[in-house]
């Protein structure tokens, strides 16, 4: 059966593997962001993890801080509208809006509770683990 997919660096096709576009040059390999220098290696991974955590915490606090006020205003108005709405269709729609806002609010709470740098892989999408286990996979 013939190969349907052409793969880079496929020796079976007699290609020059060195010229493949996805291969990193020696320089690239040296400058890879994930590679640690001698000094870093002596310091161990702890420092890198700590820096990542600090970055994640700062980003999380910024998002929580900036999103809190607009979300308060929207949730508050939805609550006020719900307390007055008599029409069932309107009530139902407001309840759906409120449910979604509560979901956002819980995500903000998760961001505020972040204490460790941990990621979660959702089918190749690597995100900060802030309770994303709860995220439902889309069909």
């Amino acid at each position: 059966m013939a190969d349907e997919f052409e793969t880079y660096g496929d020796r079976r096709k007699g290609k020059d593997r060195r010229s493949d576009t996805d291969r990193r040059s020696r320089r690239d390999r040296r400058s890879g962001a994930e590679r640690r220098g001698i000094k870093d290696r002596r310091a161990g991974w702890g420092k890198v993890e700590e820096e990542r955590l600090q970055g994640a915490l700062t980003a999380a606090a910024t998002v929580a801080h900036l999103f809190s006020q607009p979300l308060t205003i929207v949730i508050g108005h939805v609550d006020l509208l719900l307390s007055r709405a008599e029409d069932q269709t309107t009530r139902k729609k407001l309840e759906i809006i409120k449910e979604q806002l509560q979901s956002l609010s819980m995500t903000l709470q998760d961001l505020r509770s972040l204490r460790h740098y941990k990621t979660v892989d959702l089918d190749g999408l690597v995100l900060l683990d802030i309770g994303l286990r709860k995220v439902k996979k889309l069909d």
């Binding site: 801080h65 949730i75 508050g76 609550d79 006020l80 505020r112 509770s113």
Partner: protein, 129 residues
């Protein structure tokens, strides 16, 4: 039968949209609200009248929170003080745990949480009497 006295709340929030909303929420819950937009008006109002609770927004870059709550406490130490906050509780506990702030209400909050805050503050004020 005489009507029970309405709970009186002093609200300070610099941000107009949020202030008007929280005022409406509190009024909707049946409380009497005086809303002010700056620190000076807040302290003046607090000196002029007895309130059951003070709620203020921490989200002000030029606000010295500790100094402000100390000034409130100097006027009346028995009135509970609540601060609207945006970050993790632990942050505020470390920073203001020993201050005169009695309650934190973390944004975003709902009507029911605001009601719970006022209920707890009134109960605290009763205990402090």
């Amino acid at each position: 039968m005489r009507d029970a006295k309405k709970t009186e709340i002093l609200l300070w929030d610099k941000h107009t949209t949020e202030r008007e909303l929280v005022e409406e929420m509190l009024t909707n819950l049946g409380f009497e609200v005086t809303a002010v937009s700056n620190e000076h008006d807040c302290l003046t109002e607090f000196s002029n009248r007895k309130y059951d609770l003070v709620i203020f927004d921490q989200n002000l870059p030029d606000l010295d929170v500790r100094k402000f709550v100390d000034e409130l406490a100097e006027i009346d130490q028995m009135t509970p003080i609540a601060m609207m906050a945006t970050l993790a509780i632990e942050f505020y506990e470390k920073r203001f745990g020993d201050s005169n702030i009695d309650f934190l209400i973390v944004k975003p909050f709902e009507l029911v949480q605001l009601q719970k805050l006022v209920k707890e503050a009134v109960e605290l004020a009763e205990r402090l009497k």
